[in-house]
């Protein structure tokens, strides 16, 4: 499946970049994010639970960043196992562009190969569900970044000391992971239907 979209985030580009790397911020935007750990330079392991209606599924994913160009763009490779729900592999290209001093355009193109029950259940459901989950994520992200930027920055700074996602590392990874998680969550969501 392919997913491509542009979003305007009502915050300056630097703040968007920072917020995308703020685990606390991201956790607020992704329902069901259980853990997110850096295992290596540019490599992350994530786990999330998705519950849709009566069905729960746990997803384990591995993310790898390539071509990181802070604060502008990167490429994300992801692969995830949803157990009996199937699996998803793919890439996402993400870029940020300053639209104005106070707004940033975020473009992403995600391409995922899905397998097992996820693939069998049908692309119409997956595509629609993926889009809805992406919309929900970015709406919440936009609202939080716009409203709570100063506080958010503090959180980022505070967490930097203890978080593996240190300021010395490219901040991009987490937000890339988000896109992947969104795709994955959408797939699971669809499967759950």
């Amino acid at each position: 499946m392919d997913m491509k979209d542009s979003r305007i985030i009502n915050a300056p580009q630097a703040k968007v970049w920072a917020a995308l790397n703020d685990p606390a911020m991201l956790k607020q935007c992704i329902i069901g994010c259980d853990s997110l750990e850096a295992t290596d330079e540019g490599t992350f392991v994530a786990a999330m639970s998705v519950k849709v209606g009566p069905v729960s599924a746990k997803f384990k994913g591995k993310l790898q960043l390539e071509d990181v160009q802070p604060p502008n763009s990167y490429k994300l490779k992801f692969e995830g196992q949803g157990g009996p729900a199937g699996f998803a592999n793919g890439t996402a290209n993400v870029s940020l562009t300053a639209e104005s001093p106070t707004s940033t355009r975020l473009d992403y193109v995600a391409n995922a190969m899905i397998g097992g029950k996820l693939a069998q259940i049908g692309s119409r459901l997956v595509d629609a569900a993926a889009r809805k989950i992406a919309d929900d994520f970015f709406s919440k992200f936009d609202a939080l970044v716009g409203e709570a930027m100063p506080q958010s920055t503090e959180v980022t700074n505070a967490s930097a000391a203890e978080s593996p996602v240190a300021t010395s590392k490219p901040v991009v990874p987490i937000w890339v992971w988000i896109v992947a998680a969104v795709v994955v969550a959408a797939l699971l969501y669809k499967w759950c239907l």
Binding site: M113, G116, K117, A119, Q120, I121, G122, L125
Partner: protein
């Protein structure tokens, strides 16, 4: 005339139980101490199985047993057999790789059977199957039929270029010579897309081992229980045949997909002894899409040479046919024996050559599906003839007439001998019934509304009544193709018939009862047809290839004739006459030229209460059986005409009218025949308009695994079909019948595509003719016209 005999529109005896929910299907059977199985299926199209950890699954509630390929390997169980040997044109046999009943080392398609979990309930079995931990090593997949032979990946090590066989048939040199002297050669490249069979009842099985008799019983949704038993016992599990009973109870549709011996039921039989309890499995719909043997999947190039008058001189067809990941039971025969031999169609083409390359791909196995080879042949021939007519600027009906076979018997250049037919009569009859004369006015009316209208013909032929055993054997069949019938007359004159044919929707309980009631002059309610149980029926080759009436019905007629012959001897004794003077008329044995007679029921009673009986010359009882092996195939044929209207704005096709004028030989029950034709047309038109079984070309994931994505035809996709018959009786079976089960699915696809290409003015469009595809074809044609 009897109102329930041959030729009467008797309502189906079986429908009351079906329509009131009283059918007894495999899933309805629940045995004492029943357990349930769930199969762990590969999520990958091609992967090594590096390890399977079933610890967590084994600890799940209700789990009784778990088996993997390792258990199969250790038990030294054979693979599933292929029932038809094909020889490549270089003389080498087809490559037949092992087909283990649970994957050993590798999984080769999405849905391949990796392990089985057996538990107290279906839900528990599925929950445990979900936590089975299989370590896969993902390999590149071979998916597309057309490029499989060029792939760097091999599905099987035994076939490094993925070619199973390259089969050649016909006169290659003759075709080459014909092409050299041709006035014109028309060419066509087409794809006959893969279809999922979609029986209403998914596949199901329930197996039990009885320790006291040391024997197995398998209930299975199957079209040929004796063949299932023979193949499973002799070639896979090594069970003595007399220690196994196979019951195929009510079966809700097969369309070929329930002919084959599948891994699931074989695993169940094997495991039932290990577990010591009955094990049941019923496919859900997505499992059916994944694991039923699919149909069609050909990529073909055809060339037809003609003289200046449009007479066909030579025909060459090159086809690549997908076998899928393993050879299903009759997979090898479908694109060869059931395809290449039909490429003469209804025409006198003197030279024909066909070459078929069968390839392995990482997809579900492909095998017979309603028509099995003959729809693919008809599609090539009838699309080719349409293209030829346009190339030659001839009327498509006229080019057909110019090439029709008119003398019978007719030996085709591809190995068949048509016994009888009248192709002008079915074409002319279809033209009249369809009101082709009014088409120009209808087209003008459509155009006035901004719509495009087209009309397409298909003059099909099929070889049915499979088959003379010796012919089939010479062509590679590893089985006979006769049928058995037993007629058991009870003392009161009530009759039970036991047939090796199997009804899974065809209405045999009615049609066969009509034949027997007619022959014995008794009411149809006095006749019961038994089928589908190896412990009741002598033997049977089963139902496929429109063979039930022509072969199974003929066996029953032979047995009835024996009953009547014995009855005459009993009657002669009772009437104190010579048995040569006894005739049997309307259920009574009569001394010729006298009013001395005795009814059928008195003779049967005498046979079982032989007080006044020629015991010195005749055994008591009235029970006869017969085997019938046909001397030739039967050749149902006809012409279908389809008329469509296409919306140029959207590409949507509406089938405005469809006419089928068929020749099925004699007809026993016209209502049932019409039903078979309607169902066949819905399947054929469903293929042409809607259905497509799609694998992702890179990953080999099945993308059409539910009715969300696999478009099934619905009643409102079709007009009310006009169907008619022109009868030429089959010359070589006692009923003069040919078979009607597949004709609709065979004849209709090219009629629809011919109509669409006529409407929108393009040479070809591949099936299914979805609105998108039609719209794009129209845009391409428009651009080409402007260029």
């Amino acid at each position: 005339m009897k109102t329930d005999g041959i030729g009467a529109r008797v309502t189906r005896k079986e429908d009351h139980r079906f329509l009131t929910g009283n059918g007894q299907y495999t899933d309805d059977i629940i045995l004492p101490r029943q357990t349930y199985a769930s199969f762990v299926r590969s999520p990958h199209a091609h992967a090594t199985i590096n390890g399977i950890d079933s610890t967590a699954a084994a600890a799940m509630p209700g789990v009784v047993a778990i088996f993997t390929g390792k258990d199969i390997e250790e038990s030294k169980i054979g693979g599933l057999p292929c029932g038809w040997g094909i020889t490549s044109k270089d003389g080498t046999p087809a490559i037949e790789p092992p087909h283990p009943i649970l994957c050993i080392g590798k999984a080769r398609y999405v849905g391949d059977h990796v392990a089985v979990v057996i538990a107290e309930t279906t839900e528990q079995a599925r929950a445990a199957a979900d936590v089975m931990d299989v370590d896969y090593g993902i390999l590149p997949a071979v998916v597309s039929t057309g490029t499989a032979a060029a792939s760097k990946t091999a599905v099987h090590d035994q076939a490094p270029n993925n070619v199973c066989y390259t089969w050649g048939h016909g006169d290659e040199a003759g075709v080459k010579a014909a092409f050299e002297k041709a006035h014109h050669i028309s060419t066509l490249e087409l794809i006959n897309q893969r279809l999922a069979p979609n029986a209403m009842e998914p596949r199901a099985a329930n197996a039990v081992y009885d320790r006291s008799s040391e024997s197995y019983t398998l209930y299975v949704a199957n079209q040929n229980p004796h063949v299932e038993r023979l193949l499973m016992c002799a070639f896979v599990l090594g069970i003595p045949e007399h220690k196994m009973r196979v019951v195929a109870p009510d079966v809700g549709g097969g369309f070929g997909s329930k002919i084959f011996v599948y891994a699931e039921e074989t695993v169940l039989v094997w495991a039932s002894k290990r577990v010591g309890r009955p094990i049941k499995w019923t496919a859900d719909r997505t499992e059916a899409f994944l694991s039923d043997a699919h149909g069609r999947d050909h990529v073909t190039k055809a060339q037809l040479a003609m003289d200046k008058d449009g007479k066909f001189l030579g025909f060459r067809v090159d086809t690549t046919a997908a076998m899928g990941a393993y050879l299903s039971t009759f997979s090898t025969a479908v694109p060869t024996i059931l395809y290449g031999t039909l490429l003469a169609g209804q025409y006198t083409t003197p030279s024909i050559y066909v070459e078929v390359t069968a390839v392995f791909t990482n997809t579900a196995p492909v095998d017979a599906y309603r028509g099995a080879g003959r729809p693919e042949a008809t599609y090539v021939v009838e699309r080719m003839v349409e293209v030829a007519a346009r190339d030659m600027k001839m009327d498509p009906a006229e080019i057909r007439r110019r090439n029709f076979i008119r003398t019978f018997p007719y030996a085709t250049p591809v190995g068949l001998t048509y016994d009888v037919g009248d192709y002008d009569a079915t074409l002319d009859g279809a033209i009249k019934m369809h009101d082709v004369a009014g088409f120009a006015a209808r087209r003008a009316a459509s155009e006035a509304r901004g719509m495009k209208r087209g009309l397409g013909y298909s003059s099909y032929i099929e070889a049915c009544g499979l088959a003379p055993s010796n012919v089939a054997g010479a062509l590679g069949a590893r089985a006979g193709l006769f049928e058995s019938g037993e007629v058991r007359v009870h003392p009161t004159g009530k009759v039970e018939v036991f047939t090796g044919s199997h009804s899974h929707g065809q209405g045999h309980e009615t049609t066969f009862a009509q034949v027997v009631a007619d022959k014995l002059g008794i009411p149809i309610d006095d006749v019961t047809i038994n089928h589908g149980d190896t412990s009741k029926v002598l033997f049977g080759m089963g139902t496929y290839g429109s063979r039930s009436l022509a072969v199974g019905g003929s066996a029953i007629v032979k047995a009835v004739d024996k009953v009547i012959a014995k009855g005459k001897k009993i009657a002669a004794h009772l009437l104190e006459a010579s048995d040569t003077d006894i005739e049997f008329v309307n259920g009574e044995f009569i001394v010729k030229g006298t009013d001395k007679k005795v009814p059928f029921a008195s003779v049967s009673l005498t046979a079982y209460v032989p007080h006044n009986y020629p015991l010195d010359k005749l055994e008591p009882g009235l029970n006869e059986n017969a085997f019938y092996d046909p001397t030739n195939f039967t050749y149902p044929a006809g012409t279908h005409i389809c008329e469509v209207e296409v919306d140029p704005q959207t590409g949507k096709v509406e089938i405005c009218a469809f006419t089928a004028m068929d020749d099925f030989g004699n007809i026993i029950n016209p209502m049932i025949v019409e039903g078979q034709v309607h169902g066949g047309l819905a399947q054929g038109l469903g293929q042409a308009l809607l259905e497509d079984c799609i694998y992702d070309p890179e990953s080999g994931q099945l993308l059409t695994a539910s009715y969300m994505d696999y478009a099934m035809p619905r009643a409102d996709d079709f007009p009310n079909f006009k169907v008619g018959n022109n009868v030429t009786a089959c010359t070589h079976n006692p009923l003069g019948v040919k078979g009607c089960g597949e004709a609709g699915a065979i004849g209709s696809p090219p009629a629809l595509i011919n109509a669409i290409t006529d409407a929108i003015g393009v040479k070809h469009i591949d099936m299914p003719a979805t609105p998108e595809r039609v719209w794009r074809a129209m845009q391409t044609a428009a651009h080409a016209a402007h260029a």
